[in-house]
Amino acid sequence: MTEQRLMGRLFTPRALITALLLVLLAALPLIAQAMGDRYILSVGTRIVIWAIAAVSLNMILGYGGLVSFGHAAFIGIGGYAVGILSANEISSGWIQWPVALFAATLWAALVAALSLRTRGVYFIMITLAFAQLVYYLGSGLEAYGGDDGLNISRSRFAGLIDLRDKAAFHWLCFALLCATLWFCGRFAHSPFGHVLRGAKSNESRMAALGFPVFRYRLVACLIAGAFGGLSGILLANEGAYISPAMMSWVKSGDLIVMVVLGGIGVRFGPLYGALAFFVLEESLKPGLDLLHKGWGEYWQLVFGPLLVIIALYAKGGIAALLGFRHE
């Protein structure tokens, strides 16, 4: 590649916007400090964490065409693994995090092994049913707060990083988001990623070519489950709190919205989606309250139609508007 072409690729509007976005997210702790606004940092950290979850969903939804309506279960399992260990005086992150990742991956294996035998709407329903199972299990765990959830202490990485430090925690989440995005980019153009995308395009053809499609999809689900679990670990640590709400079907739906809104099957799509989702939520609420006291509660009445408009008229989501092509 000549230098000129490389420069041409780096300085497209979309690359600049993406870079600006990442710089903004990285600098958020400093911005929040300068503004004396701690809330904005907390929102920013949650955006980063949900973006990791949305990127992980995009790996199977965007590249695999597998519409999982139970992705929040991985977040819940990751979070609850941390919370339950923490409540039992096992506070070391070196133990909590691997256990949580393992649990989420194991759950992914179980769900995928069964749900991947179905197609279309049945796949959606089965993944939803499995996620609801975990949700009600969480609600029933009275020892760990039941419906009300549970305050936990944050994971400890003695001497390395203090997760109670909001800025340090944000940077950790940001670094993990970058790692997730990096992996997703490599994954999309790897031999594995091409098989997965080929199966999305034409499953029977891929089988006829000699690819055991089921195995490839299963492994993709394991990977997505692990990254989903990671976001759950981070979410539990962000608020020092776990509750069944983090894995309700509404959250699974939100994740699909983030992916579709941002741009399905595009690496940075879910990041745009997560950002737009939270920015809209955070601005519609006070915006509507300003119009009329109490209207803020009904922000979804505006958000819903907005999504319909985007689904109808902006195919490919925000990424398409920025000129990203479906990879």
Partner: protein
């Protein structure tokens, strides 16, 4: 000649319908064996059993001397049994080149590699380019498969089927929907590939069948009523009545 594929009294029932009725056919190395018969004769049902899409109720399928009756599709493909589809089946969202590259990738062991970049793999690209050239599609390498003409898509299918260096190619109506010119090009293409792999050809275009086939089997109501050379088929009274008479 050596035997590539042989079925032994294959049976498939759909409820009360006997779709495959004790069919025993074989394909030899270097041979094009055509399967003809009226619509509903059970040609596609037979092919589906050969590829592993349908499980037979009785009988066996041997490929390269090995019993493959119960092997799943992908395992059969690995052994060298490739197919093209009756309805054009390519990866529409991928370039012609990538279609062939994936077909070849299927035979290079597993693809559980998550970090390698296929775009920088020049060996992969070159091999795919050669595969496209073999069917005369090299000029269309970067065109999306969905943007290719019907005839070109059928050519691409052949290139994909050849991607795994198959020993036997199952061709399910490769001329379907083609104009006379495209048909002729396909006939020439298939004839040129004969020494690379044996073929089981299902085709309605009689001109193409008689131009290509070394042997022809006539399938009627699930039964193989006759197998012979094109000349024998032309002369056979039962075949004329059952099939050729109906067509003309």
């Amino acid at each position: 000649m050596s035997e590539l594929l042989a079925t032994d009294r294959l049976v498939k029932r759909f409820g009360g319908l006997l779709a495959t009725d004790n069919v025993s056919i074989d394909v030899q190395h270097g041979e094009i064996h055509a399967l003809i018969g009226p619509n509903g004769a059970g040609k596609t049902t037979l092919v589906s059993q050969l590829t592993g899409g349908l499980a037979p109720d009785a009988g066996t399928i041997r490929f390269l001397g090995r019993d493959i009756t119960r092997l799943p599709t992908h395992a059969r493909v690995r052994l060298g049994l490739a197919r093209s589809f009756q309805i054009t089946s390519v990866l529409r969202d991928f370039s012609a080149l990538e279609n062939v590259a994936l077909a070849q990738q299927a035979h290079r062991g597993h693809s559980f590699r998550f970090l390698a970049d296929v775009r920088r793999d020049t060996n992969r690209t070159e091999a795919a380019r050669r595969g496209l050239a073999a069917v005369g599609l090299d000029a269309r390498a970067s065109t999306r498969a969905s943007a290719l003409s019907h005839g070109e898509q059928r050519q691409l299918e052949i290139a994909m089927a050849l991607g795994g260096e198959p020993r036997l190619l199952l061709l399910d109506e490769p001329m379907a929907g083609m104009g006379p010119e495209e048909s002729q090009r396909m006939v020439a293409l298939l004839r040129g590939l004969k020494q690379r792999c044996g073929m089981l050809l299902i085709e309605h275009d009689m001109e193409a069948v008689f131009a290509l086939a070394d042997r022809i089997t006539v399938l009627v109501y699930g039964r193989a009523i006759f197998t012979g050379t094109p000349d024998e088929i032309r002369r056979h009274p039962e075949v004329r009545q059952a099939y050729l008479g109906e067509e003309s």
